[in-house]
C-alpha cells in the first residue's frame, strides 16, 4: 500500500484538556491519582515488520466466553488480563465493558480486536507472524497504580515469553 499521510497532531490545548479530565477523574473516583508515563521510553523496531511477530493488546474488555468476564460493577475497576490464544474462534469473543458502546465489537470483533486482519496481513507477507497469544484487559480502572505496577509488567512478561517483536495497542 502506498504511504498514508501521517501528519503530527495539532497538540494545542490537549494538555489542558487532559489536566481537566484528570481533575474530574480524581474528584469523582476514590483512589484515583494522576500517574502518567515518563514519556522517555522508545524502542526501535529490531527487524522489518515482514519478519516480526505481532501481538494485539486491548483494554476494550475482550475475553472468551469460557473465561471469567471482567468485573464492571465495582468502582475500583478490574486490573486483570485474559490471555487470548491466536487460534481462538472469533465468534466466542465477548466484550465486557460498561464505559463504551460494545455493540460494534459484538457485531464484528475486528472493530476493536482485529484478529482476522492480523492473520490476513500475515498471509499477505506484510508482517511476519501473529503472536501465539494476545491480551485482553478492561480499561475502566480509576486507580492507575495497579495498572502500572502489576498489570502492565505482567502483560509485558507474557509478551516477552511469547517472543513478541511488536505490540498493537487498542482502547475501546
Amino acid at each position: 500500500m502506498r504511504p498514508i499521510p501521517l501528519e503530527p497532531i495539532d497538540s494545542t490545548g490537549l494538555q489542558q484538556k487532559f489536566d481537566d479530565w484528570i481533575g474530574f477523574v480524581e474528584r469523582s473516583h476514590h483512589g484515583s491519582n494522576p500517574r502518567i508515563n515518563s514519556g522517555e521510553a522508545f524502542t526501535e523496531l529490531k527487524k522489518p515488520l515482514a519478519e516480526s511477530r505481532v501481538a494485539l493488546v486491548t483494554t476494550a474488555g475482550a475475553h472468551l466466553d469460557s473465561q471469567e468476564p471482567f468485573h464492571v460493577e465495582t468502582v475500583a475497576g478490574d486490573p486483570t488480563h485474559r490471555v487470548l490464544p491466536d487460534d481462538l474462534d472469533p465468534s466466542r469473543l465477548r466484550f465486557t465493558h460498561t464505559h463504551y458502546d460494545t455493540s460494534p465489537a459484538e457485531q464484528d470483533p475486528n472493530c476493536v480486536f482485529p484478529i482476522d486482519r492480523l492473520h490476513e496481513l500475515v498471509e499477505l507477507g506484510r508482517i511476519g507472524e501473529a503472536s501465539p497469544v494476545h491480551i485482553g484487559m478492561m480499561g475502566f480502572n480509576p486507580d492507575p497504580g495497579p495498572i502500572q505496577d502489576d498489570l502492565a509488567p505482567r502483560v509485558a512478561g507474557i509478551l516477552a515469553d511469547a517472543e513478541v517483536d511488536v505490540a498493537i495497542m487498542v482502547p475501546g
Binding site: I9, K17, A41, F42, V57, A152
Partner: protein, 91 residues
C-alpha cells in the same frame, strides 16, 4: 479511562524492549499519558478500526499503524487522514 489504562500498559511494554503503537479516539488522554507512538482516529469510541464488517477500512487503519511503526524515530503522535463514514475520501 480506557485510553489511560492502555497508554500506561503501552509505556511499560515499550520500556521492556518491545516497540508499540496505539490507535486513539481520545487525543487529550493519549497525549497527557505520554506514549511512544500514537495515531488519532476521529472515530467513535468502540470503533478504533472502523465499522463492523468493513475489512477494507480496518486494513487502512492497521496499515497506518504499521507505517507509523516503520517511520517514527522518536516519540510520535499523528492524526490519521480518515474521517468517519468518509474514511476513503483521501484515497
Amino acid at each position: 479511562m480506557c485510553h489511560r489504562s492502555v497508554g500506561l500498559v503501552q509505556g511499560v511494554i515499550e520500556a521492556s524492549g518491545i516497540p508499540t503503537v496505539t490507535i486513539s479516539m481520545r487525543p487529550d488522554v493519549t497525549y497527557g499519558v505520554r506514549v511512544p507512538r500514537a495515531a488519532y482516529a476521529r472515530f467513535p469510541h468502540g470503533n478504533p478500526f472502523g465499522e463492523p464488517h468493513h475489512p477494507e477500512q480496518h486494513h487502512l487503519v492497521f496499515e497506518a499503524l504499521l507505517q507509523l511503526l516503520e517511520k517514527a524515530t522518536e516519540p510520535t503522535f499523528v492524526e490519521l487522514p480518515f474521517r468517519w463514514r468518509r474514511w476513503n475520501q483521501w484515497l
